[in-house]
């Protein structure tokens, strides 16, 4: 059954079995590879107007997670980040969760030099880090399956962490398991939905069993704008273009990708409340019943 966020939080706190409870510090490292920063932006939260959404900062605070580094949100500079990475690799620092955003870039000619960190192919750093992490979470379709950069002709020779499109393999190979014994958890989506990312991390921290589908996507992953019950993408109905299948491993191989879905004409204007008051509701509850929110 689909768990609503509040229920989930309730269950987690009742279980009290999170990393803190188990005496192990929960740490989080966020790495961006061939990415557009879409997940980083999304996780800062973007709800409908007037809704105070739960975002990464709240999550870190509430769950007592220590953020080791995030490329655009941390104060720590990349040089210090390099030190942190070195400490993790030397097993001097525990790494509970490694979140990766963006495709793994292997070009040109397999060298990985199309995407470097500190002069090294970022790919190699990610591979080493994966082996130190309790859990590896691919945030977004790019890091899960390759996504947009891996679209033909795949000029950057991109792949996902454990898949290249729907082919198992990717950077780590199909057999790879994290220290906690799980494959890469693929929080697919383009971008992955903020609440989905946070829920998944919470489940992981709580040590709850994660059920993964054949593309290693946890059950938290669902299509955009879905009502949470039917699990159908709500984009066509709400925004007027067909679902582009962004949580799929094949995204964006489908051709052509864009299809408009003409929405039925809106109801007769006479049925609507008079328009004038709309200009006069400064901050009234009009905010509450506003736009559909993502996820």
């Amino acid at each position: 059954m689909y768990l609503y966020w509040d229920q989930l939080k309730q269950e987690l706190s009742e279980q009290g079995q999170n990393f803190r409870g188990r005496d192990r510090e929960a740490t989080l490292l966020w790495m961006a590879c061939g990415s557009c920063n879409g997940e980083s932006m999304a996780i800062l939260g973007a709800e409908g107007p007037g809704k105070a959404g739960y975002n990464l900062l709240d999550f870190l605070e509430d769950e007592g997670v220590r953020l080791l580094w995030h490329p655009s949100l941390s104060e720590t500079s990349p040089r210090e980040a390099a030190t942190i990475i070195a400490r993790i690799l030397a097993a001097e620092e525990e790494l509970a969760m490694l979140c990766v955003e963006g495709s793994i870039i292997n070009g040109p000619h397999g060298s990985g030099m199309y995407d470097t960190f500190d002069g090294q192919p970022k790919r190699d750093i990610i591979r080493a880090l994966c082996d130190r992490a309790q859990y590896v979470i691919a945030m977004g379709t790019c890091s899960a399956f390759g996504g947009i950069p891996a679209a033909p002709p795949n000029p950057s020779e991109s792949c996902g962490l454990q898949f290249t499109n729907e082919q198992p393999g990717g950077l780590l190979g199909p057999e790879w398991r994290s220290r906690a014994g799980l494959p890469v958890i693929n929080v697919a989506g383009c971008p992955a939905d903020a609440q989905t990312m946070i829920k998944t991390m919470s489940l992981v921290l709580a040590g709850l069993p994660l059920e993964l589908d054949k593309f290693n996507r946890p059950l938290t992953v669902g299509p955009c704008l879905s009502d949470g019950i039917t699990k159908r993408c709500g984009t066509a109905q709400k925004v007027g273009y067909a679902c582009v299948g962004c949580i799929g491993a094949k995204f964006p191989l489908s051709k052509p990708m864009f299809r408009q879905v003409e929405l039925p004409q809106r109801e007769l204007p006479v049925l609507l409340p008079p328009r004038a008051p709309i200009f006069m509701i400064p901050g009234s509850d009009a905010a509450g019943n506003g736009a559909p929110c993502h996820g």
Partner: protein, 511 residues
């Protein structure tokens, strides 16, 4: 001191960039901007259905995906000469403005202002106040509020696009989303809330009052007027920034470019030649001190110092090529190309956009002090005030035209060439497309960062950022805070790793 290489970095910038500097004693004598990532969007687009660009190009950047979508849609519209619903232009403008307002706040309070809390400034009289407002990460009052309010204003994009980033709610002819009373009410509420926060926290006065400031003198008089003005976010920024001399650094090239934005809904129709915009396009020639009209045919990209197959000289984007050719040895140093306008190095961004659009307050500062670090950042405080007003006006217009369509159906052609030009939050963005046999034959994107962060061109002239570092004095090479301010004022859409090459050694390492 023996020659040595010092490596030093910047945090809190999006993307992948390294800056290498040659430093003589404490003064920067040369600079190279290195784009370190290549994803190949332009190659991915070739051969695909033209409308695929609407799904793929927003994914270039998760921060300005509305801008990418708008530019892509415009490029197709121009190529196919598609008639377009005026309401769609209103909705697009509204969403683009919301993205700019969001970006101004996030950039200013989450990226730029935290540098005022650098330990190097402990002795500054305003240090305590800066900490209270801006202390990173997200500790300062304004920083925290920014996360909340910037998210709220994005509700406008979500009202029409369903999600942010990466919605594809625009298409040639209009927008795919419906226009509802609810979404308009939600937009107005979001604008109201944001305006209230902006007045209280950021300005310390009503927007109307702020918009009455026309000259530099007006601004300083305003600043001295009340405690509320002095201690508002902009008050603290203005005083702290000038105390540090930020109005004297980071000038860069004297030429400004803006390709124009926010089309007039009623007039933006085929043949799309008269580009009537709320922010008109133009080229400010720093030598003649004149604003000339903008002609997109004067844009050319060079790859002499970039890791692409060389074609010699500059090429207009329609003729452009993106054939990566990575060569670790040799004098090429970046994956960025070098766009030039009328064969000049230009700077783009909110300051250029507004000076060319004739904004009085900014022009007054610009004439007195030129483009500089302080003024570029000051623009990010100033711009949302008029944008919020314009957004409200747009919502009201939509209200007045509520019964008109948001989309006009027409068949897309199989051939054509077009360019879509808009001003994204960081400056002008252009998409150039060529379509043959119903497929994309060529696609070139020039982002604001590719203009500003460009490498040297065929004539070996430095790009704008490279130029803006020259002569900068850095007191502590281990904490090059002066440099951070300059880089951030450009809103580098790139993770910057800055590498010093001291004492005349150049480009001896990395990448």
């Amino acid at each position: 001191m023996a020659k040595q290489i010092i490596k030093m970095d910047l945090n809190r910038v999006e993307g992948d960039l390294e800056i290498k500097l040659e430093v003589d004693d404490h003064t920067v004598t040369d600079a190279w901007c290195v784009g370190t990532m290549y994803r190949g969007f332009e190659q991915i687009l070739v051969g695909r259905a033209p409308t695929d660009a609407l799904v793929i190009t927003p994914r270039i950047c998760g921060i300005c995906s509305t801008s990418q979508l708008y530019a892509a849609t415009s490029a197709l519209e121009v190529a196919f000469q598609t008639p377009l619903a005026p309401n769609a232009t209103r909705i697009r403008n509204l969403c683009l403005m919301a993205e700019a307002v969001m970006s101004d706040a996030r950039h200013t309070f989450l990226m730029f202002a935290p540098d005022f809390c650098n330990p190097a400034y402990r002795g500054q009289p305003l240090y305590g106040e800066a900490l209270e407002l801006f202390e990173p990460p997200f500790k300062g009052r304004v920083a925290r509020e920014t996360v909340y309010h910037s998210k709220q204003i994005l509700g406008i994009v979500i009202a029409f696009g369903g999600q942010w980033p990466h919605a594809t709610y625009m298409m040639p002819g209009g927008v795919t989303c419906p226009l509802t009373e609810e979404s308009l009410a939600a937009c107005l509420a979001a604008i109201d809330d944001y305006t209230q926060w902006y007045e209280q926290t950021v300005l310390g006065c009503r927007c109307e009052r702020w918009l009455g400031l026309n000259t530099m003198a007006d601004f300083f008089a305003w600043l001295d007027e009340t405690e509320a003005h002095r201690h508002s976010a902009v008050g603290v920024f203005a005083r702290f920034g000038r105390a540090l001399g930020l109005h004297q650094t980071g000038q860069g090239t004297p030429h400004l470019l803006s390709t124009g934005c926010y089309y007039d809904p009623e007039n933006w129709q085929p043949p799309f030649t008269a580009r009537q915009c709320l922010q008109p396009a133009g080229f400010y020639d720093g030598e003649t001190d004149r604003i000339e009209s903008f002609d997109q045919r004067q844009v050319a990209e060079h790859v002499r110092y970039s890791w692409y197959a060389d074609y010699g000289g500059g090429r207009h984007p329609w003729e452009g090529e993106t054939q990566p050719d990575y060569q670790p040895d040799g004098d090429r140093y970046t994956y960025a190309k070098a766009p030039r306008y009328q064969d000049q190095v230009v700077q783009l961004g909110p300051l250029s956009d507004l000076v060319i659009a004739g904004d009085r307050l900014l022009t007054s500062f610009f004439q007195a002090e030129g483009a500089n670090t302080w003024l570029r950042q000051f623009t990010r405080f100033h711009r949302p005030v008029s944008l919020l007003q314009q957004m409200r006006r747009t919502v009201i217009e939509l209200q007045q035209h509520f019964d008109e369509p948001t989309f006009i159906k027409s068949a897309l052609g199989a051939e054509g060439e077009g360019c879509g030009l808009i001003n994204a939050s960081r400056g002008s963005l252009g998409h150039w497309v060529k379509i043959k046999d119903g497929r994309i034959a060529n696609y070139q994107v020039i982002t604001p960062t590719s203009w500003n962060g460009s490498p040297r061109d065929s004539a070996n002239r430095r790009g704008h950022w490279e130029e803006s570092f020259i002569g900068l004095e850095i007191k502590d090479l281990d904490n090059p805070i002066e440099l951070c301010h300059v880089v951030r004022s450009h809103d580098a859409c790139l993770v910057c790793t800055v590498h010093f090459v001291k004492g005349g050694r150049k480009r001896t390492f990395l990448v």
